[in-house]
Symmetry: C2
């Protein structure tokens, strides 16, 4: 008896805060503009800083904010459409493909990669480290694995500088039968985070690709994209030109 509880659900403070902030972002702020600092914002909304941060965290996850230690919190631009997996199947590194090589080593593949490649765990693979930059900022790092068995014609003596181009050139002589991709959510390892200019643990989209030739997996890659700034596009058409972000009011009924 007693307390009439017409307010069935009380949504969490940080959730409500998020909607308030989104409204403010859409109406009162420009892209790139810097927000008041967290302590001030928390005081203004009458909540603890940790609560405010929970809201900011989600907004950053959704690509609406960008936070930088020592600098501040800024309004993020709409996510970039990043083409992944063009309709025309092509080998990595062929043509102009938006990646540039950072380094290359020959080593044994880690167990999960060996499983993808279908090679023995102790087999040698060339590992090419590449990076992808769009609009002046790094959006992805990639490790491309090419089993030594896939490029038998490779000349044995290679300088570090000529290693990656030689492997790619050799790879391109094969006929590509098809490719395969998988996308999943992950968190940036320390090394990836540094390349992507984020903190370790930042949310990333991990794209695993397999390249088939001669009935085998001739190469495989694991690419790590910044989840906050990227929208991965697939398929026939070019970059999709939607306004931005996840549809908000896609309610209909």
């Amino acid at each position: 008896m007693g307390t009439t509880q017409l307010e069935a659900v009380q949504e969490p403070k940080y959730w409500h805060l998020k909607t308030v902030l989104i409204d403010a972002l859409d109406s009162e702020f420009e892209v790139g503009e810097i927000l008041p600092n967290e302590r001030d914002l928390a005081a203004r909304f009458g909540v603890a800083r940790a609560t405010l941060r929970q809201a900011l965290e989600q907004l950053e996850l959704e690509g609406r904010l960008q936070r930088r230690r020592g600098v501040g919190t800024t309004v993020a631009p709409p996510r970039m459409g990043v083409a992944v997996g063009p309709s025309a199947n092509v080998w990595p590194g062929a043509g102009r493909d938006a990646w540039h090589t950072i380094g290359c080593v020959e080593a044994v593949a880690p167990a999960p990669i060996a499983a993808v490649l279908g090679t023995a765990a102790d087999e040698a693979v060339h590992t090419i480290h590449r990076e992808r930059v769009m609009q002046g900022q790094p959006v992805a790092t990639e490790l491309l694995y090419v089993p030594a068995a896939s490029v038998p014609g490779l000349s044995p003596m290679l300088t570090p500088a000529s290693h990656a181009p030689a492997v790619l050139r050799e790879l391109h002589t094969l006929e590509l039968d098809g490719e395969d991709r998988a996308v999943e959510l992950g968190s940036a390892r320390a090394e990836d985070a540094k390349h992507l200019d984020r903190l370790p643990g930042a949310p990333v989209l991990v794209v695993t690709s397999r390249y088939f030739a001669g009935g085998r997996v001739a190469a495989a890659s694991v690419a790590t994209y910044r989840a906050d700034t990227c929208r991965l596009t697939f398929g026939d058409s070019g970059t999709v030109e939607v306004t931005h972000h996840q549809a908000e009011g896609r309610r209909a009924s």
Copy 2:
């Protein structure tokens, strides 16, 4: 003078905790097994509960743990490979396509959807709500938008039960020229969260699809996949059979 600072970087406690927990998960726990509760775990590691939770949060994001309020934290099975965008272009709802319809209404499209469809903001669209279940648990919800102009032959009088099938049947009479997809990270809206058996704000992979026919966007959909349990697969081959999770030791040099 001065504190010799050989330990250049001190990694955060929660980060170190994460690696310790991963090791424990791999060696001492079975899939589905329930972990000690957060208060006990925090005490065992000598950290505050909030710090422990920061580690658990990332592990859940990476699909290694599953937490349920009132129940506990369990070890998650490897992510499911969920096929998205088969090589053969087909209309949604054609053949057996793993989705089942929940409801259907005719209404005006929200602004971002109208932009994708290239229709006027006040144009009527049929909105079909569908759900995808795999291995007994819901993995995605979808809103499929079909402009009324795309299905001119639709009979005007429809019962709610026959509405969705009629729209799909009419849609399938068109010739599909191609399709388009984009994947980005989002957080679950309250309604989606309920369907996906998650809390609001849970991380999701948002897949936006466009279906082309007659030189126009004849239909579009926004599908929301659970990011913790799903690995989205694209391309020619079927489900990729990797061991699981993001490659851990893909370090080579």
